[in-house]
Amino acid sequence: MALTGVSLIAFLVVHVGINACIWAGDGGDMFNKASHFMGSTVVIRILEVGLFAGIILHIVQGLVLEVQNRSRRQTAYAVSLGNRGSKWYRRSMGLLGTLLLLFLVMHLSHFWVPSRFSTLETITIDGKEYPNQYADIIRVFHDPLVVVLYLLGCASLLYHLLHGFQSAFRTLGVGNNRYLALIKITGFWFSIIVSIGFAMMPISVYLEWIS
């Protein structure tokens, strides 16, 4: 759980970095080049297989864990401890993860499927042809419903990471007080920056900050 979680965190860094290219102010050239690179080399293809395996493993482990842990208390309490003991999102990783799974299905069908199976229009940059991923994003994020669903997805990601980042390191055995303090602060800011980074994409397109 922790190992697959940390791998997915590493993937998010790359993903949010490439997305940030849409704000280069060059009509999407840099973004198209970067996303083409991510879809064109053998190394990336191998990493993609690893990523999918990681995601599936994480989901399966997560659901099994949730179901098993629930079975460890057969009679529910009449009055629950609730938020007096822990923050709600620390107890809702199964729910947040399921929301992310639903988001992922929508997200892959929006972007990964057309790009992977080459149904995108092409654009010529510096005399070379590239699939116009950028134009596709502009098209998808013109639908307000899609924008709202993406923002909900980003909120789920925020809370999943706010707990998951530090929990993964605790499970991996980081028990030194100084490192734990570092991990708490890093986890907090990482979750906020990454989630806002992703959320800014649909927002900037919808509000036409970029075109």
């Binding site: 309490y77 009055v79 007096r84 003991g85 605790r170 499970t171 991996l172």
Partner: protein
């Protein structure tokens, strides 16, 4: 603080034995002094039930001074009641005011089956200790304490972990019914000391194996355990337990 008395409504879990279904029973108690402990208030109620010819409420208690860990009661949704770093026996009625309703439940966990009313069977903890929560030493004359120097920081940290009284509040509070805070306290306590070194690897592997066998859930670091622990055992011990477990798993034969 001003001394006062109060009338309360109690909703207490009653269950004849481990196989019966059990349900809440409502009791009115009157003239409870703010100076009484929670258990004394229960004694007053039981005294009345006995005089009325009814079955008194079964609950665990022993030391009544916060050190034995038997007084397991889940009070208004929190193990050991509302006070921080406190046991049920050290909870006093000044925590409540006239007219309050108090719901009292037993610890709920598959690994802690209800025996009767508020009493649960916590022998799973004993079996975890038996699996490795000890050091093997030759008994004989007590050795001189100063023959084995231990750094102050380690001694303090070990002592803080050793303060665990095995009450099970951590399991009761945890949404996963996980016993990791308890096990981590026991493992940290011994892993930090030279006396614990010879059995360090087998201890953690055997205790975790027993913990899983008993049917406790897996830790997801929700932090509920730490917030209710009467001895303020730190969750950092759980991370340390994880590293002990991983390293022992990779390096032991």
């Amino acid at each position: 603080m001003e001394h006062y008395s109060m009338n309360l409504t109690l909703k207490v879990w009653r269950q004849k034995n481990k196989d019966s279904k059990g349900d809440f029973e409502t009791y009115k108690v009157e003239n409870i002094s703010s100076e009484m402990s929670f258990l004394e208030m229960m004694d007053v109620l039981n005294d009345r039930l006995i005089r009325e010819g009814k079955e008194p409420i079964a609950f665990d208690h022993d030391c009544r001074e916060g050190i034995c860990g038997t007084c397991s009661m889940y009070i208004n949704g929190r193990p050991h009641g509302p006070w921080h770093a406190n046991t049920t026996c050290q909870l006093h009625m000044r925590a409540y005011k006239d007219g309050d309703t108090i719901v009292v439940e037993p610890w709920r966990a598959k690994a802690f089956p209800v025996v009767k009313d508020l009493i649960v069977d916590r022998s799973a903890f004993d079996r975890i200790i038996q699996a490795g929560g000890y050091i093997s030493v030759n008994t004989g004359n007590a050795v001189d304490a100063n023959s084995l120097p231990i750094e102050k920081e380690k001694a303090d940290e070990s002592f803080a972990a050793a303060a665990c009284i095995g009450c099970g509040a951590c399991v009761a509070a945890c949404k996963n019914s996980s016993a990791m805070l308890f096990v981590s306290a026991k493992v940290s306590h011994l892993a930090l000391l030279p006396q614990g070194a010879p059995e360090r690897k087998t201890r953690v592997l055997n205790m975790i194996a027993q913990m899983d066998k008993e049917g406790f859930g897996a830790c997801t670091n929700t932090q509920a355990c730490e917030s209710v622990c009467p001895k303020e055992i730190s969750m950092t011990n759980i991370a340390k337990l994880n590293s002990e477990y991983i390293i022992s798993g990779l390096t032991s034969r």
